[in-house]
């Protein structure tokens, strides 16, 4: 019986700004439910301070995960995928950790394969966490 020598890594995506994750989620859900103006957002999210809502929205706009048109907000469909991969399990990949660390082109390919249309934008919100899987065999 032969054993495979291929290195394996676990790739997980985390929010780059962990303190903003609740704000991202709240903003996206609110806009998806039709609260897409400044006034309506401030009214339906009293749990959040204006400062943090502005900063969260600023990050989403900068990452092109939110769009603004005539004072009306919309959330990019990519954002759903981002929320899912952050909440989901780590990806098991047949790669060496050194291949992934600081390798944005490869991360972009992986994100595109998952279905993200704007992976560069996604990487402004997410950061990868790479963990090598130790094989006991």
């Amino acid at each position: 019986m032969s054993t495979s020598n291929t290195a394996r890594v676990k790739l997980k995506f985390l929010w780059r700004s962990p303190h903003s994750k609740e704000c991202y989620i709240a903003l996206c859900d609110a806009v998806r439910l039709g609260y897409d103006t400044k006034e309506s957002l401030l009214a339906v999210l009293p749990q959040f301070s204006v400062n943090r809502l502005v900063m969260g929205l600023d990050n989403l706009l900068a990452a092109s995960m939110a769009h603004i048109n005539m004072g009306t907000l919309s959330i990019d469909p990519d954002m759903r995928i981002l929320e899912t991969i952050v909440a989901g399990q780590a990806l098991d990949l047949p790669l060496g950790s050194e291949e992934l660390v600081s390798n944005d082109p490869l991360l972009i390919k992986i994100l595109m394969a998952i279905g993200v249309q704007n992976p560069a934008g996604a990487l402004t919100l997410l950061k990868p966490k790479v963990e090598e899987v130790k094989d006991d065999i």
């Binding site: 609740e22 859900d29 609110a30 439910l33 301070s49 400062n51 943090r52 900063m55």
Partner: protein, 613 residues
């Protein structure tokens, strides 16, 4: 300086700092901060408890931030560095213009419109009590007029909390948008300040206040203040959201972190919510160590931080508040007890060299206070707590006769400052000699205290009865009709005793320097019920600082051996000055007078009320 000139690092430092009077070899503030860092790192390495380790890590984070100058107002760094090293050479500590370059720079920046100046010139007090005590108000005016840093010394009962409330109210009056942090090493001090403050605020202004995480005391002077607790604020926010957008709120309630239930059954709010709530509130009350729960890189800094009981806080603790505020008012009294160190902390301290250990143990508050110029420090001198007999003792022995006294009338029944002593011949506490672990429990003193509490209850019960009779007499113009139909005028003593009405309970503090005695006292008193007439608190002297009671029993415990604990004037100051009306010194007067320490000798001269065999 042009680019061709040689680099002189000393020019980077404020001219005030370079002029400091310290000798070349003496440690400066940076050395002291480094000592603290060394000590905190040792504690992190040795502490097993996760929460305690987190606390030390937070302190390291803030101390490093301050050391690097990454705090809110760099003037604090230059001022502390300067006055840590010595007083201003030009004018000494009496210099009125000694706010230094830091203040000047801040003032100039304010003039340029870079930010609002925090110097406030308040001519009229908000609280009417200051119309009479004009000296105290002058000290508050100095604190308000200060741009960066002020130290207000408040001896026992001199109205520190009232002063804090006045400073906040004046700041709000002058700068309605100012963000204010009320902090202390203890929850009780924060609770007191917020409780009193909220009594002066309108309903709209109350919405600006938050107590994080909650009040530690069960009863408040202003019960309405309970709604400023973070949990209430969080519930209000969720309910408001639920009313406007139920579907969204339900979804977020499911998706977002909700906090956890702690071991004691109380709810802990998730940090994301606490950070948002803190951003949305203007006045926040929190202990120094919990400050980091809601401060992150995106948080707004505070315009004013008030650190109550600062001399009881360790340097990292008050530095945490200083790091996040533009102006800081330190309120405390270095003549009372310095920070307490637990056994683990003491062990880590003993690994440092002797000078480092002494500096860390004693704190630097006294040193900085002595060196501060007059414009940056003030002292409250009129005490409103103790009856003159107790107050005079405290003033004479611990404040160089500097205190004035306000109260003249007590409860009428218990106004002693005297001994309940006993014959300690052949009664040794602790019984052990040499290096054995000592049992510092004195059962004789416990019995004396219990007996006296019983007598007090009887006297109060009689006084209450007399009060009922007196009330009836009042209905007839202070005259009673006896069984024979004759009219009798009530004696003066009975009129006086009407302090004790039905439902009135006298507060009693039973305090002792030793934990073992404290435990034993609690165990004994828990079995007895004095609750009809007395509310009794039992604690160590160190833990009781910041609180007061009508009657204080001080159990000395020892009848033999060294009086190391009593030799510290600060501890005796705290012990005696907790009392409003009455101090019972419970101990062996022979042992205490044999110690030949000034404060103890004076105490031994107090009258003896009873002597047990």
């Amino acid at each position: 300086m042009t680019s061709k000139e040689p680099f002189d690092p000393s020019k980077l430092i404020s001219s005030d700092v370079s002029e400091s009077s310290d000798s070349p070899g003496s440690p400066d503030l940076i050395d002291h901060i480094d000592d603290w860092l060394e000590y905190l790192v040792k504690l992190v390495e040795t502490t097993d408890d996760f929460k305690t380790r987190k606390k030390y890590e937070r302190q390291i984070k803030y101390v490093v931030r301050f050391r690097c100058g990454a705090n809110c107002n760099v003037s604090h760094n230059t001022l502390l560095a300067k006055y840590y090293s010595g007083a201003d050479d030009k004018g000494g500590s009496s210099d009125g213009a000694g706010a230094g370059a830091g203040a000047r720079a801040s003032g100039e920046a304010a003039q340029l419109g870079l930010y609002d100046s925090m110097a406030i010139h308040a001519t009229t007090p908000v609280q009417s009590c200051y119309l009479e005590d004009t000296y105290a108000y002058s000290q508050i005016q100095k604190a308000l007029a200060c741009e960066n840093l002020f130290f207000l010394q408040g001896p026992p009962g001199t109205g520190k909390t009232t002063a804090i409330v006045e400073i906040i109210l004046q700041t709000l009056r002058s700068k309605p948008g100012a963000r204010i942090l009320i902090t202390s090493e203890t929850h009780v001090a924060v609770d007191n300040a917020l409780d009193r403050l909220t009594g002066h605020l309108s309903l709209t202004e109350m919405d600006l206040v938050m107590r994080y995480p909650r009040f530690s005391v069960a009863t408040l002077e202003n019960p309405g203040a309970f709604k400023v607790q973070a949990l209430h604020r969080a519930n209000a926010a969720w309910n408001q959201a639920m009313e406007v957008a139920p579907q969204l709120t339900e979804r977020l309630w499911q998706k977002l972190e909700r906090g956890r239930v702690k071991d004691d059954g109380s709810d802990e709010l998730p940090r994301w919510l606490v950070r948002n709530l803190a951003d949305s509130h203007q006045i926040i009350g929190v202990t120094c160590n919990q400050l980091d729960h809601f401060m992150d890189n995106d948080s707004d800094m505070f315009d004013l931080a008030i650190v109550d009981e600062c001399s009881k806080a360790t340097m990292p603790e008050w530095l945490m508040a200083l790091t996040v505020a533009r102006k800081c008012v330190l309120v405390g009294d270095h003549k009372q007890l310095p920070p307490t160190f637990c056994q683990e902390e003491s062990e880590a301290l003993s690994e440092l060299d002797e000078t480092q250990e002494k500096l860390i143990r004693d704190g630097v508050i006294e040193r900085i206070f002595d060196n501060f110029p007059k414009s940056m420090k003030g002292t409250l001198l009129k005490q409103y707590r103790m009856l003159p007999e107790i107050g005079l003792f405290i003033s004479r022995h611990f404040y160089g006769n500097g205190l004035d006294h306000s109260r003249t009338k007590g409860n009428g029944l218990f106004e002693h400052f005297a001994w309940l002593t006993y014959n300690s011949k052949n009664y040794y506490v602790p019984p052990e000699r040499g290096n054995e672990r000592k049992t510092l429990i004195n059962h004789r003193e416990i019995k004396i205290i219990v007996d006296h509490l019983g007598v007090m209850c009887e006297q109060i019960s009689e006084a209450k009865h007399a009060s009922v009779v007196g009330d009836r007499a009042d209905d007839f113009g202070g005259v009673m009709i006896n069984d024979y139909g004759e009219s009798i005028e009530l004696p003066k003593s009975e009129k006086r005793e009407r302090y004790f009405r039905e439902g009135k309970r006298l507060s009693v503090a039973v305090i002792t320097p030793y934990r073992a005695q404290c435990k034993e006292l609690r165990r004994t008193l828990d079995k007895l019920d004095f609750s009809a007439h007395l509310t009794i608190e039992v604690d160590t002297v160190d833990a009781f600082q910041g609180r007061q009671a009508d009657v204080v029993f001080f159990s000395f415990v020892r009848t033999t051996g060294p009086a190391k604990f009593y030799a510290d004037d600060r501890r005796m100051n705290v012990a005696i000055s907790r009392a409003r009306d009455c101090v019972y010194l419970v101990g062996s007067i022979d042992y205490i007078s044999s110690k030949r320490l000034p404060a103890l000798t004076a105490l031994a001269g107090r009258p003896v009320l009873s002597r047990a065999g």
